[in-house]
Every structure is written in structure tokens, then in C-alpha cells.
């Protein structure tokens, strides 16, 4: 049997470029000649129908498909087309088995296409199979083996992250070389000529290999040692915080009543992106009772276990210290997150449980395209500039 060229199957999953992909598919179908085009949007299940909790997964998938359908209708209206010019179907497929490889997905899509007379696949370039790895290329390869014509929707892809590599400068190279050499000597116990020679060789290899991923700014003779010194002052304070919260959390855990009250919170912090933000997020995680779940630019999603930890977080002592380490004493004087009103408990105890679920879902998966941004913020201050260069 030969499938009509107008039959298109589009696998969908939440992605920053899904909206654009839908627009492209509709446009293609409208432009195509021939009799009434058919488009099937399918959500490939990553669960099995008999798994516990699969109802919620199915509901999410159905919601997404409804949204896709709404977008499609909208596109048709925009194009002043007859709403019935295109047949749009949606389906959830593949919930009777676990799918592991791109080949499984391709097999399933082919079978679906054959049974519905669809011969063409359009893939969202950010489509991901399982988890968050974009695996469009292997999927395309597998589909090509199976007599389906395939096309990647030409959408503007948001750059998922800034480029990790930066150009080298002598200052960065020498700092890295010196640090590696010193580290080697410490490990070797400063034990003579042999260690010095091998150390020089090792440090050279390290410096050459890792030079363009180590520093994002030139280390300076005055500011960098000062930061390092302030960092050394920070360590005892961090240890003190860790011990205090460890004791609080230990008491809660050993308490037979297990008196916990976990909440997801959102705190907007002012420490600057890149290394300072990473330092703060890691310090928060190191302190038991608070756990950084996600960093979205200067907004940290922090899971807190007990009210004590939450209060500590909102009082912003760690944030103040990190500002002190990176920008000096002046920067440390700043209102706390609570005073600034930059704190938010995402799972409000008064709200109903469905509202909680929505809050989480909204924060987690953003269809309109900025969900990739959080990756870039961990990198460097100038990541925005570099991510523009990095766009293809």
C-alpha cells in the first residue's frame, strides 16, 4: 500500500520549539496541493498503561495534545483557511510496552503511519525520546530505514547553552599551569627534582588540554587573591552552617514523629551568574535541609525540608556571604531575600493539591521557549553574548 503524501504524522513532546513545529506543519499542509490533508499529532508514551501512576502521565500527554490541537486551530484561523480543510487527529500511542531505543520509536511510528495511511514524518528538532537527551538524529536514521519520508521542521532553535569553550590568554594559561604544578607538588609532598620535572610536564599537559574551559575571565594579580582569601574566610562559616543544620535535620530524622514539612520554594538571588551562582547553589545544597533543584538565571528553586531551613534560606545569610566572597564587603550589605520580597513558597499549604501540581508543571516545562535558558546561566557572565555566537 502506498501512503498519500498529504498524510503527516508528528510525534510531539513538550519542547521549546514545539509551538513553531506545529505552525510549520499546518503551513505545509495548507500549501500542499491535492485532496484534504491529514495530520496526526501523536504522543509516544514513556510509560506503560499498567504502571502505577500512569494516569497522571496520560493526563499530561492528553493535555499537551489538546494544546497542540488548539495551536493548530489557531494557525488555521490565522491563515484564513477553512477550519475543515485539514483533518487533525491526536493520539497517545505505545503505552502497551516500554520503548527503549530510537528503533523502537521508529517501529511504532511506522506501524501507526501504515495503519492510518500516513507516509510522512515531521519531527520537532528538539524532540526528545526519553528524558532530556535530544535524539532526533538516530530517530531520523531509523525512520529512513523504514520507507517513511522524514523532515525536520525548520524552526529557530533556542541555543540550549552557551559554548563551553573560551579563547585562551597568557594569564589564564599561566594561572592554570601554576595551579596544576602546585597541586602536583602538594600530592607528591615536595619531594625533589624528579617531582619537579614530572610536575612541569604534567602541568603543561593539563594547561594545554584544559586551557579553554577553565577560566572565563582573566585572573588578576590583586582581585583574584583577594577573592581567594575571602573564600578562605567563608569556609569556616559554611562549615558552621553545615554543622548546625546537620544537627537540626538529624534531630528531625531520628524523631519518631518524623516532623517534616517539605516545600518547594523559589528565591530570587543577587549574586551574578556563573561561578558565584554555582557557589551559592552548591552551598545551599551542602547545608542539609535545603536543596537547589533548579537554577533559572538568578531564580533558584530550592526544596526545603523543615521550616528552620526555609527561614535560614529566606534570611539569605549564605547569599550575603557569597556576595562578600566575590564582590567584597560593600556588596554584602544588602536587604535579605525576605525583605526584598524575593521569596515564594511554590507549594502553598492553603492551596489545593491540583494547584500545587500546576505550579510545579508550569515552572518545570515551559513550552514557549525559555526552558533552555537555565543551562546557560551556570556558565559565565558573558554567556549571553557567547550563546549568540554559538547559534547556528
Amino acid at each position: 500500500m502506498t501512503a498519500p503524501a498529504s498524510g503527516i504524522v508528528v510525534p510531539v513532546k513538550r519542547s521549546p520549539t514545539l509551538r513553531q513545529t506545529v505552525g510549520y506543519v499546518i503551513q505545509q499542509a495548507l500549501d500542499a496541493d491535492g485532496d484534504a490533508p491529514v495530520i496526526h499529532f501523536v504522543s509516544v508514551a514513556s510509560w506503560r498503561a499498567d504502571d502505577p501512576g500512569s494516569d497522571a502521565d496520560r493526563r499530561r500527554a492528553t493535555e499537551l495534545l489538546e494544546q497542540v490541537e488548539t495551536w493548530s486551530r489557531f494557525e488555521l484561523e490565522e491563515a484564513d483557511a477553512d477550519p475543515d480543510a485539514i483533518t487533525i487527529e491526536t493520539a497517545v500511542i505505545g503505552d502497551d510496552d516500554y520503548l527503549f531505543s530510537p528503533a523502537d520509536y521508529a517501529e511504532l511510528l511506522t506501524a501507526y503511519g501504515e495503519s492510518h495511511g500516513l507516509g510522512h514524518v515531521v519531527v520537532d528538532p528538539e524532540y526528545s525520546l526519553v528524558g532530556h537527551t535530544t535524539l532526533v538524529e538516530p530517530l531520523e536514521f531509523e525512520l529512513q530505514q523504514r520507507k517513511l519520508s522524514i523532515e525536520e521542521a525548520p524552526v529557530d532553535r533556542p541555543t540550549r547553552r552557551g559554548r563551553l569553550t573560551v579563547s585562551s590568554t597568557p594569564a589564564r594559561f599561566l594561572t592554570l599551569f601554576g595551579t596544576s604544578f602546585l597541586f602536583y607538588q602538594i600530592l607528591g609532598g615536595f619531594s625533589g627534582l624528579f617531582d619537579i620535572v614530572t610536575g612541569l610536564a604534567t602541568a603543561l599537559v593539563v594547561a594545554i588540554a584544559l586551557d579553554n574551559v577553565s577560566f572565563y575571565r582573566d585572573p588578576t594579580l590583586v582581585e583574584s587573591p583577594k577573592r581567594l582569601a575571602r573564600g578562605v574566610i567563608y569556609v569556616p562559616y559554611l562549615l558552621y552552617e553545615i554543622v548546625v543544620s546537620n544537627l537540626v535535620v538529624a534531630r528531625v530524622i531520628l524523631d519518631p514523629r518524623l516532623d517534616i514539612d517539605p516545600r518547594l520554594t523559589k528565591v530570587r538571588v543577587f549574586v551574578g551568574s556563573g561561578f558565584p551562582l554555582t557557589t551559592l547553589a552548591n552551598s545551599i545544597t551542602l547545608t542539609p535541609g535545603t536543596l537547589t533543584v533548579k537554577a533559572d538565571d538568578q531564580e533558584l528553586y530550592v526544596h526545603s525540608l523543615v521550616p528552620f531551613a526555609r527561614d535560614g534560606l529566606f534570611d539569605g545569610a549564605l547569599e550575603r556571604w557569597v556576595r562578600f566572597v566575590f564582590y567584597g564587603r560593600e556588596a554584602a550589605r544588602f536587604p535579605t531575600p525576605r525583605e526584598r520580597g524575593d521569596t515564594e513558597i511554590l507549594q502553598d499549604p492553603d492551596a489545593s493539591s491540583t494547584a500545587d501540581a500546576n505550579a510545579v508543571a508550569d515552572g518545570g516545562v515551559d513550552v514557549d521557549g525559555d526552558s533552555g535558558v537555565d543551562d546557560s546561566t551556570d556558565i559565565a557572565d558573558d554567556s549571553a553574548t557567547r550563546s549568540q555566537e554559538g547559534e547556528r
Binding site: H132, P262, L286
Partner: protein
């Protein structure tokens, strides 16, 4: 005298390290969901390993090896929150809803 004090201190550190590791293990078993478990799993690394390494450093005495234990602690302090964050973030992005008071245990 000094040796006795030192041995005593070593014993105290080992005991504390064991205690926090025990608390951490208890927490992993008792707490209700992946997020709260990630909290307590990192406890074993911070204070559990911290006190154990302090005991090691004391036993060895001052020297390059003691410096190495401090470096070990430093690397644990860098990698441990990164791992906890990776687990929590993976769970979050997969749409796992954090457990709140009143939910059933899962």
C-alpha cells in the same frame, strides 16, 4: 598524656562520623520522596565523611598525607552537592511532584 587526648579525639571524630552516616541512612529509609531523600543522602558526605576524614588526618599527623585528606574533603564538598542537585533536578524535570505534608507515603 597528649597521645591519650589525641586517641580520645580520634575516637570522638570516628563516633561522630558514624553517627551522621547512621542518621543519613535512617533518613534515606524514612523520608517520603526523592527530594527529601536527596537532602539526607548528602548528609553522609558532608559530616559523615567530614568527621571520618578528620579522624584520619589526626591519626596520620601533620604532613603531606594530612593535606591530602583535606583536599579529599574539599573535593567531596564540591562533588556532593553537584550530585544531589543533578538527582533533584532530574526528578523535577521528569515532573515528579515533591511530597508535601498530608500526602501518602510513596
Amino acid at each position: 598524656m597528649i597521645t591519650t587526648a589525641r586517641i580520645g579525639l580520634i575516637a570522638v571524630f570516628v563516633a561522630l562520623g558514624l553517627f551522621f552516616t547512621f542518621v543519613s541512612a535512617t533518613g534515606v529509609i524514612r523520608l517520603p520522596d526523592v527530594f527529601s531523600r536527596a537532602h539526607t543522602a548528602s548528609q553522609a558526605d558532608t559530616l559523615g565523611a567530614g568527621f571520618a576524614l578528620a579522624a584520619v588526618a589526626l591519626t596520620i599527623g601533620w604532613g603531606p598525607t594530612a593535606v591530602k585528606t583535606v583536599l579529599l574533603l574539599f573535593f567531596i564538598f564540591v562533588t556532593n552537592p553537584t550530585a544531589a542537585h543533578a538527582i533533584a533536578r532530574a526528578a523535577y524535570e521528569e515532573g515528579v511532584e515533591p511530597w508535601t505534608r498530608g500526602d501518602e507515603r510513596r
